[in-house]
Symmetry: C2
Subunit: 202 residues, 2 copies
């Protein structure tokens, strides 16, 4: 009998998954959480065989929880279950050595199947996810540019950004100019839209 813990902040999915997995006669759900902190605490104390973690949760993300858990419990099987195929998320997941990374955009059968496979020692990355990552436009912005973009995403003026980042007003303008040229745009808002569409910012 395989014991499973579910952390998912969308109640409807959380309870639905619990019910479904409980139907399988070789699985038991031994706990649920709707935030990362509780999940981390309870997985440690309840010691399930498998932890299914959503990424976007209050207090602590599923990826952070995964990272912590992997340090403590080498043998725990971790499944990341999330909505979007973000490159940065996927990378963190790989670093945390999760056993599976599934998208909510696949049916529950797939989840059940995945659980069986990882119990068998396999590592599963959703094919859909992998292809999205491979075909995604890679971020041409330097870390500095990224940082500055995050600043003006909040609506800050050039001067406010300069103060925040300890650069001169002119330098900030240069960086922004470079951002615009790399994104093929002519204004901050356009650049933000491009970045948004390509998931360059979190």
């Amino acid at each position: 009998m395989t014991s499973i813990y579910i952390a998912e902040d969308q109640e409807m999915l959380n309870s639905a998954l619990s019910a479904i997995l409980n139907l399988e006669d070789d699985f038991t759900i031994i706990g649920n959480a709707t935030d990362g902190q509780t999940a981390l605490r309870e997985v440690i104390s309840l010691k399930p065989d498998i932890a299914i973690l959503d990424i976007e949760m209050p207090k602590m993300s599923g990826l952070e929880v995964a990272g912590e858990l992997r340090l403590i419990k080498q043998d725990l099987k971790i499944i990341i279950l999330t909505t979007f195929a973000r490159k940065t998320y996927f990378e963190s997941a790989v670093i945390a050595q999760v056993n599976a990374y599934l998208l909510k955009d696949s049916p529950t059968d797939k989840l059940v199947e995945t659980i069986h496979k990882i119990l068998d020692g396999q590592t599963i990355y959703d094919a859909n996810l992998v292809s999205t990552i491979l075909t995604s436009v890679k971020n041409p912005l330097t870390p500095q540019e990224l940082k500055i973009m995050r600043e003006f995403a909040q609506g800050k003026s050039t001067q406010e950004i300069a103060d925040a980042v300890f650069l001169s007003n002119g330098t900030v303008r240069n960086y922004i100019s470079s951002i615009l040229s790399k994104t093929g745009t002519h204004s901050r808002i356009e650049a933000l839209n491009v970045a948004q569409k390509n998931n360059w910012i979190d």
Copy 2:
């Protein structure tokens, strides 16, 4: 026996809900869709007692489907099941005379309970949703201002907006100035952030 149709584009939730509701011995799921168009077509042909509709779906939103269905089938019970508590969504739902409006942020029990209640003739609006709507800051922007905001949200320049909306460059600047003053900001991006936070734009 009550027949139910589910339209939900997140496969995981779709299949999970189907499985759960099928467990109840007075319900049968007679169909599923992951986009609005198929949902509309199939609900018309399959004639379920209840249609559960997500709002954000490809091709046609759940609200549009609800509107169409209500015109054709007065006796059909419609449940809107969605993630966010948006005022505009809720208003459209009321106009389409849906029988229930639930948030995915409530457990499946609640859904089952709601189905029973609407079969009993009641109309259910998620309490959580209603309170969110009531406490939400109401949009101070005029329809014109809203329209212009949607334009610059796409990154358009003043002139481009003027051309799109058939106003003079100066008038557009005046409207934007008014938007900034109403939102208590001094730049388009800041204004967008405020609008975003308060769900004034869709």
